[in-house]
Amino acid sequence: MRRPVAVRVVGPLQWIVYPSLLAILATLVLATPVTLFGLSLPEPIIPMVLAFAWPLIRPSITAPLALLALGLFLDLLFYTPLGLWSLSLICIYAAILVSRNFLMGQETRVLFVWYTVASLGAFFLAYVIVTIVAGRAPSLLALLGQIVPTLLIFPLADRLIQRFDDGDVRFR
């Protein structure tokens, strides 16, 4: 008689909802107007990590909807034009979803390069939109000040991919 095998089911709650809530929590905490030893807290776009990792973990219907919600949350919190961050995030998701077959199973360094390219593309899109809406181009130095912390949180995306990629035996 075969022994029953424990099947680990990883639902959207584990890899979409909980990370989204954590991203919202971290964004709210980093938006606190305090200075630590004379320096302001960084303001990375944390949901970019999710927009990059989710299509690599598994194609999903819930993930784009979650990105829409996260983008609207960022727009309301940061007072950017409504739709700006949801569009940027979904563009990252779409680009990675299309190139998913090339990226599956790649090592971390390759993924970081792709994450950098995708993030820069999203920031460029946001830069163009804000330039058109505000009638003035934002400072490139200030833009760099947001790009760098966003790239530095790539280990979170890598951790998320390694944690949930192939984690559900039903998708093997």
């Binding site: 905490v29 107007p33 305090v34 200075t35 983008g71 007072y79 950017t80 949801s86 400072s139 200030a142």
Partner: protein, 324 residues
């Protein structure tokens, strides 16, 4: 008949297709939201943003409490280690400011005498409302803050916001208990300013960096490095004379302003519940005598003709009086 038993029973759509369709739908919604914004009507989304500010202000205020404690601890450590040098610097500053304070008293006295002699209508005192900054956005695309006062405390859209050093920004969104302040460094901020030394007018335009640009400077050689920049009051949105900062050269060669408000943490601010003269004047008073009597005043008689005892109805008609 259940859906599973129908002709679509064996239809299986690849997951990547459904995900792709969802992506297209989200793309369409995002573009629609972006295009649906009316740039000429900032109040069009005030209800949505006001509700969002209300929620994020409340939640953020609670979540940020531990971060504030850490910030207070770092300030305490900094004060402990730099107390001696800070004390020396403050003593020098007090000695310098004592002379300025004496001169200020004398100038105020002379100024008030001039005003009374000339009969100048001075600006009325501006009521203020103290507030605490709850949340901050400091990215390149938006620079704003949430403060914990709203329409319930009399705050209105357009009110200027200052801290103890200078101008911080102005209110662009309100809800009952929380307001949104657009900082002068935001990419869409435009503030009419003047150079204190030369009285030259210019426009302070934010670009998302810490030091906004000084553009449209009138006159030649009217700006130098180190000049003080104040609000000009042009347009009536912000009272004249609110300090903003000092002029500096940017690395790109453009004129920029080092903000006074950056000298300390912007944790507590004051909202100036300012209304310009145009808003303060009751429209009814503009139609009251003597201006309203212009349409009914008799025309002065011609020098040659004999003056009639009572003006005829024909002489009472005035140009433009028919429309009233």
């Amino acid at each position: 008949m259940a859906f599973r038993d129908g002709p679509l029973e064996n239809l299986k759509v690849p997951l990547i297709w459904t995900a792709g369709l969802t992506v297209l739908a989200v793309l369409a919604v995002s573009v629609f939201l972006l295009l649906g914004q009316r740039r000429d009507d900032p109040d069009s989304q005030n209800a949505i943003r006001g509700a969002g500010d209300q929620v994020s202000g409340g939640v953020g205020g609670v979540l940020a409490a531990p971060v504030r404690w850490v910030g207070a601890a770092s300030d305490y450590i900094g004060d402990y280690f730099f107390a001696v040098s800070e004390n020396r610097r403050l003593k020098e500053q007090v000695a310098e400011l004592q002379a300025v304070a004496d001169a200020n008293i004398a100038l105020q006295n002379i100024n008030s005498r001039y005003e009374s002699m000339l009969g100048i209508r001075v600006e009325p005192p501006v009521p203020t409302q103290t507030a605490r900054s709850i949340s901050e956005s400091r990215g390149p695309f938006a620079r704003s803050r949430l403060i914990d006062v709203g329409t319930g405390q009399g705050v209105r859209i357009g009110n200027p916001v200052i801290n103890e050093h200078g101008l911080v920004g102005r209110v662009v969104g309100t809800s009952p208990r929380v307001s949104r302040v657009l900082l002068v460094t935001d990419v869409s901020s435009r503030i009419p300013v003047l150079i204190d030394r030369t009285d030259a007018r210019a426009m302070l335009t934010g670009d998302g960096s810490g030091n906004p640009r000084l553009e449209y400077v009138r006159g030649t050689d009217s700006v130098e490095v180190g000049d003080r920049v104040l609000t000009s009051g042009d347009g009536g949105g912000i009272p004249r004379g609110v300090p903003i900062g000092v002029v500096a050269r940017g690395i790109d060669g453009s004129w920029r302003v080092k903000l006074f408000s950056d000298r300390g943490a912007i944790d507590f601010v004051k909202v100036l519940r300012f209304e310009d003269f145009g808003q303060l004047v009751d429209p009814e008073t503009l139609n009251a005598p003597p201006l309203a009597a212009l349409g009914t005043a008799p025309v002065p008689p011609a020098p040659e003709a004999p003056a009639p005892a009572t003006p005829s109805p024909a002489t009472q008609a005035q140009p433009g009086g028919e429309g009233e």
